[in-house]
Symmetry: C2
Subunit: 200 residues, 2 copies
DNA sequence: CCCGACATACCGACTGGTTAGTCTGCCCCT
DNA sequence: AGGGGCAGACTAACCAGTCGGTATGTCGGG
C-alpha cells in the first residue's frame, strides 16, 4: 500500500470512480497542467492502461468534473426557480444554495474556475453554453423582481448576476473549512448582501 | 517581418519590455503552462539567449506581471484611502477605481487570478502577502464606516470585501471591451452595488 | 587617433528530463 | 474459449534551461 490516499478514494471504489475522485483532488491541488497522468494512476493504485481503458484522454477526466458540477447546480436552480414562492424568496434561496453547493464541492469549483480554459475547444464551448443557460435562468429571477418593483432597477440584471457569481467563483480562493463560518452562514451572508443591494 | 504582433510590442520597444509585453499577452491567451518559452521569444522576434539574458527563468516573467499589477493597485488604493473625504466616498472611489484599473489591465488580471498558483512557492507567498496588505487596507475602510454607523454591520467586513473582490476577479471572465458598457460605467455600477448593500 | 581589452547583447544548437497516449499481451471471469 | 479489465514497456513530441560563440560598443593608454 503506497502513498496514502484520502478516505473514500481507496481500493473498494470501482476503478473509474476512483480515477475521477483522485484526478479531481489532484487537479484542485496542483492544477490540471501540472498533474501528470502518471501521478493520477499512481495515486489511484492502477496504471495507464486502466485509465485509457475508461477515459479517452486526460481532457475527458477534466470534462467529467465539469459535467458533474453543472448537472448538480442546474438541477438545484431549476427546482428553486420553479417553486411558487415570492420572487424575493426564490432569489434568496437560489443565491444561498449555489454558495452552499459550491463550498460543499470546493475542489470541483476550484478546478472549474481555474482550469476551464484548458479544456479542448469544443468541450470548452459546450461547458460555456451550459454555464450560460444557468446564468440566464438566474438572471430571469432578477429581471422578474425588477419588473414587479420588488428589486431596484438601478443596475442592469446582467451586472447583478455577474456581481454575485464573481463572489461565488472567489469562494475557492478564500473559504477554509476550518474557518469561523459554516457554509450555510457564508451563504446566508452572501445572499443577504445581494438582496440588500437590490432593495429599491 | 514574420508573424504580425500587436501594436506596440513591435521592434522599436527595448527587448526586455517587449518580452514582457508579449509574455503577458500569451499567458493571458493560452495560460502560463501552455505557453512555451520558445513561443514567447518567437513572438518577440528574439531567441532564448535574449530572454535568459534579461530574466532568470520563465517564472520570473510571470512574477513581473504580478509585481507590476500589485504596485499599481496598492499605490492607487493608498492615495484614495489617505484622502480626507467622508468614508462613504473613499470606499466608493476605491471600489470603482479597482474595477477601472482591472479592466484597463485585463490581461494582467486574467493571469493574476488564473496563474497565481503556478508561481514558485516563495514568489507565491510574497504575492499573497502583498495581496493581503491590499485587502486589509480595503477592509479597514469598511470597518471604519461600520463603526461610525454609516454602513450596516449586518455582514462581517471580511465577507464584504471578499464579495466585492470576487466580482473584480470575475471581470476578466465576462467583460468585453466591445460590450455596451465603458469601464467607468461598469465600475460605477459595481461600486454602487457595494454601497447599496452596505446601506444601514 | 588608433589599438587592444573588456563588456554587453544576443544567437542557436544542444541536453536531460518529462509527457500524453499506444500497444501487446496476460489474467480472470463467465 | 473468448472477451472485458488491466499491466507496463514503449514512442514520439516537447520543453525549460545551458553554453559556447559572435557581433557591436566602450574606454583607456600610447
Amino acid at each position: 500500500m503506497p502513498a496514502r490516499t484520502t478516505s473514500a478514494e481507496s481500493a473498494d471504489m470501482p476503478v473509474p470512480q476512483r480515477l475521477l475522485a483522485v484526478a479531481t483532488r489532484l487537479f484542485a491541488e496542483r492544477g490540471y497542467d501540472r498533474t501528470s497522468v502518471q501521478e493520477i494512476v499512481e495515486a489511484a493504485g492502477v496504471t495507464k492502461g486502466a485509465l485509457y481503458h475508461y477515459f479517452g484522454s486526460k481532457d475527458d477526466l477534466l470534462h467529467e468534473v465539469y459535467a458533474r458540477m453543472l448537472r448538480l447546480q442546474q438541477q438545484r436552480l431549476d427546482a428553486v426557480a420553479d417553486s411558487d414562492a415570492p420572487v424575493e424568496e426564490r432569489l434568496r434561496t437560489a443565491a444561498a444554495d449555489v454558495v452552499v453547493t459550491t463550498i460543499e464541492n470546493l475542489d470541483d469549483a476550484m478546478i472549474f474556475f481555474r482550469s476551464m480554459h484548458q479544456l479542448s475547444p469544443e468541450k470548452y464551448k459546450q461547458v460555456r453554453a451550459e454555464r450560460r443557460r444557468y446564468h440566464e435562468r438566474f438572471r430571469a429571477l432578477v429581471e422578474e423582481g425588477q419588473r414587479s418593483g420588488v428589486f431596484s432597477s438601478a443596475t442592469p440584471a446582467d451586472l447583478v448576476v455577474d456581481y454575485h457569481f464573481g463572489s461565488v467563483h472567489h469562494l475557492s480562493t478564500w473559504y477554509r473549512a476550518d474557518g469561523p463560518l459554516t457554509p450555510q452562514q457564508v451563504a446566508d451572508h452572501l445572499a443577504d448582501l445581494l438582496l440588500r443591494a437590490l432593495r429599491p
